[in-house]
C-alpha cells in the first residue's frame, strides 16, 4: 500500500553499561524522523541516554508455534551447576 508511513521498533538504553531494551514502536517516514519521534514518545522522563530504531520489517521473528522445538524446557539439567554434587568442605565453586 503506497503512502503508508512505515513502522519502527524502538530500543532504549537506560544508562551506559546496560543493553538497549525494546520499549515499543512508532510510525515515521524515515530513520531520522523515527529517532526524533522515539525521543519524544519514549524518553520524556529521562528513561534513557541512547536510542536505537530498527525498521519493523527488518526484524525476523521466530514462530511461536515452534517454541517447543526451538526452546527446550528444562530437561538438559546437566547444563546447570546444581546438577553436580560438590561437597561443602571445598568452598564455593
Amino acid at each position: 500500500m503506497s503512502g503508508e508511513v512505515p513502522l519502527w521498533e524502538v530500543f532504549i538504553r537506560p544508562r551506559n553499561g546496560l543493553a538497549h531494551k525494546h520499549v515499543g514502536s512508532l510510525h515515521a517516514t524515515d530513520e531520522v524522523m523515527a529517532l526524533q519521534a522515539a525521543r519524544d514518545v519514549y524518553t520524556r522522563r529521562g528513561e534513557g541516554n541512547s536510542i536505537w530504531v530498527v525498521a519493523s520489517n527488518a526484524i525476523t521473528a521466530s514462530d511461536p508455534d515452534q517454541a517447543g522445538e526451538n526452546f527446550e524446557p528444562g530437561e538438559k539439567i546437566y547444563r546447570h551447576p546444581t546438577f553436580y554434587e560438590i561437597p561443602d568442605e571445598v568452598g564455593h565453586m
Partner: protein, 331 residues
C-alpha cells in the same frame, strides 16, 4: 548483538591532554564506555587485542576437550562435556561480537588467528592425554578462567562487560563438572587415583601461568588497571586462585606438584615456588607440536567451511532474486 555500522568509520580521537583527562574522569566515575562514545585509540586497541585473544581462546579451547567427547566414559559425562564444549563455542561468538563493536571485523580476527599474528591462551597448547585431563581442565583451567572473568564483568567497556556476565553465568557448571570428575577418580581405584594425580601434575603449573607474567614484568598492566579494563593484577588473581584451590586438592588427598607451596600466616595466603617463565613464553609463542596442531585444526575448519559459506551466500542471493521476481510475475 551489535553491528559495526554503529561505530563511526573514523575511530580516531583528538588525543589532547584534556580529552584524555575527561575520558579518565568518566572511567573513574564508573560510567561505562559504549561503542559510540569517544575513546582513546590506545583504549580501543587494547580492548580489540584483549577481547580478540579471549575469543580465540574460547574457540581453540574447544579442541583439547573435544578430543575426548567420543571417549567419555558414560552418557552422563558425554552429555556434560558436549554441553561444555558447545558453551565454549558460544562464548567465542559473544566475544567476537563484542570486539566487532570496536570496529574490527570478524574476518580480520579470524585471519590473524590463522596466520599466527593473534595469540590465544597458552593453556590450550598442552595435550589432553587421559580422561582425567578433562576433569582437571574443568577444575583448574575453568577455575582459573572464572577467577579472571568475574572481575571482567565490571570492565569499563560495556559490550565486553555484558558478554562476560553471560559467559560467567553459563560457566558456573564447567568447574563443578570438572571437580566432580576429579573427585570420582580420586576416590576410585588406585589406578584411577594415579591417573588423576598424573593429570594434576601436568596441568598445575600451566594453570597458574594462565594469569600471565608477574606484575613487575607485565607491560600493559598499569594502563589497563587505570582504564578499569582490568580490576586486579595478574599476581593478585593468581594468589586468589591458589588460595581457593589448595584446600580443594587437600580434600581429595591429591598433591599439588610444588614443594615450596605453603601457608603464609602473615599474608593470609599460600606462597608458591618459582614459575618457569621460559616455558610460558615458549608455549605462548607457539613452539612445540600442539601449537601447530591447534592452528592447523582451526585452519582446516575454516578451509573446509569455505564451500558452505559460498553456498549459503549463493542461496541467499537466489532467494532474494526470487522474491523480487515474484511480484512481477503476478502482474
Amino acid at each position: 548483538m551489535y553491528s559495526q555500522g554503529l561505530i563511526g568509520a573514523d575511530g580516531r580521537s583528538e588525543e589532547t591532554p584534556e580529552f584524555l583527562a575527561a575520558f579518565q574522569a568518566r572511567v573513574d566515575a564508573e560510567t561505562k564506555i559504549e561503542p559510540n562514545d569517544d575513546m582513546p585509540e590506545g583504549y580501543r586497541r587494547t580492548l580489540v587485542r584483549q577481547i580478540g585473544q579471549h575469543a580465540h581462546s574460547e574457540i581453540v579451547g574447544m579442541l583439547p576437550e573435544g578430543n575426548w567427547i567420543t571417549r567419555a566414559p558414560s552418557l552422563r559425562r558425554k552429555a556434560a562435556l558436549l554441553a561444555k564444549v558447545q558453551d565454549e563455542g558460544g562464548h567465542g561468538l559473544y566475544l567476537y561480537s563484542a570486539a566487532e563493536t570496536l570496529g574490527v571485523s570478524r574476518k580480520q580476527m579470524t585471519e590473524e588467528l590463522l596466520d599466527g599474528r593473534a595469540k590465544y591462551s597458552s593453556i590450550f597448547n598442552y595435550p589432553t592425554l587421559s580422561w582425567a585431563d578433562i576433569g582437571i581442565i574443568g577444575w583448574l583451567v575453568d577455575g582459573a578462567a572464572i577467577m579472571n572473568q568475574i572481575p571482567l564483568c565490571r570492565c569499563s567497556y560495556g559490550p565486553y562487560a555484558r558478554a562476560m556476565i553471560r559467559v560467567c553465568k553459563e560457566e558456573s557448571f564447567h568447574q563443578r563438572q570438572g571437580y566432580e570428575i576429579v573427585m570420582k577418580l580420586a576416590q576410585g581405584t588406585p589406578e584411577q587415583k594415579a591417573m588423576v594425580q598424573d593429570a594434576l601434575n601436568r596441568w598445575w603449573w600451566p594453570s597458574i601461568m594462565m594469569f600471565g607474567p608477574h606484575d613487575a614484568d607485565s607491560q600493559h598492566s598499569d594502563q589497563s588497571m587505570a582504564w578499569k579494563i582490568k580490576r586486579f593484577t595478574n599476581d593478585e588473581l593468581r594468589q586468589k586462585f591458589i588460595d581457593a584451590t589448595v584446600p580443594q586438592a587437600e580434600y581429595l588427598d591429591l598433591t599439588l606438584p610444588d614443594p615450596d607451596l605453603k601457608w603464609n600466616e602473615e599474608k593470609g595466603g599460600y606462597d608458591h615456588g618459582p614459575i618457569d617463565w621460559d616455558e610460558f613464553w615458549r608455549v605462548v609463542k607457539g613452539f612445540g607440536p600442539m601449537a601447530k596442531d591447534r592452528v592447523k585444526a582451526r585452519k582446516k575448519a575454516w578451509d573446509d567451511g569455505e564451500w558452505v559459506r559460498e553456498a549459503a551466500l549463493a542461496h541467499a542471493e537466489k532467494r532474494k532474486a526470487r522474491a523480487q521476481a515474484a511480484p512481477m510475475a503476478a502482474e
